[in-house]
């Protein structure tokens, strides 16, 4: 792997790790009815186990793992001290009474407590999969969680197959240590890198450049130019949006044919131009001589007024696609 590839991979892993860790932390906030302490997110060196250094000296730990079943490959392991697990189980209890602190004895969690922790993990990882799905622009589904009690690092290494990449995020829940380990196969990294490239190409159009990818700070100036050139070749999806509205999840599938949905735009308002999901500018719909819709740009985000141009007349010819919705 070249230094540039390594940097891009590290950035993709960090983005994945940070978004997943934050989704898990927010779900834990809700379960524990208080903010959990966020720690570090880091890419685990290839020659190290992601479970090294966890506080097994204080007693066994509970590990809850899920793997993805659709969309991508890979999985997550949430490692927490037995005390943290029992406290989370108590917080899940449904009685409305959330414990102020972890229990002060070293008893192992009961089966029902382990089931409660598994359910908590299910809710956390579903939220995390949703966050990952946003980055990848597709649904990511998870399998039911698997829960086990581990005595030490060796048991953790044995329980979970090593992957080429891993990201570790630390938390403290009720003052007790927790660690989220994301086990990441190469295929996932490729998907993430591609998705982030696409997001980056959106940002380039808005003038944000490579910093939007979190890459510019990590590569040498010469390498940045090389990456910039690579990103310029990425094909992007372009569409115009007439307007939008919201309906409830319950009402959407019951809309009958003939229903009229009012949009948030007046008939003479400009329509928005989107590039890969990012609002890029606005303009007016016009008809070409061939009877097709086109968009005459009136405003481009971050660039002020530009001489009028028609979106379909891309210098790259077929490098863009048009969708009028």
């Amino acid at each position: 792997m070249s230094p540039l590839d390594a940097n891009v991979t590290a950035d993709a892993l960090m983005r994945l790790g940070a978004s997943t860790a934050e989704a898990v932390a927010k779900a834990l906030d809700a379960i524990c009815a208080a903010p959990v302490e966020r720690g570090d997110v880091s890419v685990v060196p290839a020659d190290e186990s992601p479970f090294n250094g966890f506080a097994f000296a204080d007693g066994p730990a509970v590990a809850v793992s899920v793997h993805y079943v659709d969309g991508v490959t890979g999985g997550n392991v949430l490692l927490m001290s037995a005390r943290a697990a029992r406290a989370v189980a108590a917080a899940m209890g449904g009685s409305g009474e959330v414990p102020a602190e972890a229990p002060d004895d070293d008893a192992n969690p009961t089966e029902l407590e382990l089931s409660a922790v598994a359910e908590a993990a299910n809710q956390m990882f579903a939220a995390a999969a949703s966050a990952t799905g946003v980055v990848l622009s597709q649904d990511v589904e998870i399998a039911p969680p698997d829960t086990r009690v581990l005595a030490d690092v060796a048991a953790a290494r044995e329980a979970f197959d090593a992957t080429p990449h891993a990201v570790s995020a630390t938390f403290r829940v009720f003052g007790e240590p927790c660690r989220l380990v994301q086990l990441v196969p190469n295929a996932f990294v490729v998907r993430m890198t591609r998705a982030l490239d696409e997001q980056g190409s959106e940002q380039l159009s808005g003038g944000a450049g490579l910093s939007a990818l979190g890459i510019a700070q990590r590569v040498e100036p010469g390498e940045e130019r090389a990456l910039d050139e690579l990103l310029r070749d990425i094909r992007v999806r372009v569409w115009a949006e007439l307007g939008r509205t919201r309906v409830s999840l319950g009402a959407a599938p019951q809309l009958p044919p003939g229903a009229v949905l009012e949009l948030d735009r007046k008939a003479d308002d400009p329509v928005d131009l989107y590039v890969n999901g990012l609002r890029f500018g606005s303009g007016r719909l016009v008809l070409t001589d061939e009877g097709e819709w086109a968009l005459r740009l009136e405003e481009v985000a971050g660039q002020g007024f530009r001489p009028p141009a028609i979106a379909s007349e891309s210098p790259a010819g077929d490098e863009t696609t048009r969708e009028v919705v």
Partner: protein, 126 residues
């Protein structure tokens, strides 16, 4: 009071759901930990309402729901989903689920969804 079947692979969630439904005056006539057990219990017990988890091993909630609706098009099912499973919930409603709750949920929200679903089923039964 309605007769309920609680379906969830997590014993903990079955307990939480059962406690909440019983406290709301309902009778939980059965519990199931997977899709096949749910379908068997549904045939045997003919409950008024089923609470159904989405993420389950082997046969997930959506596949189970479709079989339940095939068995009884008037089956009254409330989906229990986690945050981030909106697409699944949408599919479930299209497949015939009467309502849904998102975990973690409050007891009142669950009981409200159950009452609404039972009311809807009663109207449809005419």
């Amino acid at each position: 009071m309605a007769r309920m079947l609680v379906v969830d692979d997590a014993a903990f969630m079955r307990k939480v759901l059962t406690d909440a439904l019983v406290s709301g005056g309902h009778e939980v006539v059965g519990e199931a930990g997977d899709g096949d057990a749910a379908i068997a219990a549904f045939r045997d017990l003919q409950p008024d309402l089923v609470t159904l988890d989405i993420t389950m091993p082997e046969k997930d909630g959506l596949a189970t729901l479709r079989e339940l609706i095939e068995l009884d098009p008037a089956a009254c099912v409330v989906i229990c989903s986690a945050l981030g499973q909106e697409t699944k919930v949408l599919e479930a409603i299209k497949a015939g689920a009467k309502d849904f709750v998102v975990k973690p949920f409050e007891r009142e929200r669950l009981l409200g969804a159950v009452e609404k679903a039972l009311g809807q089923a009663a109207v449809q039964a005419g």
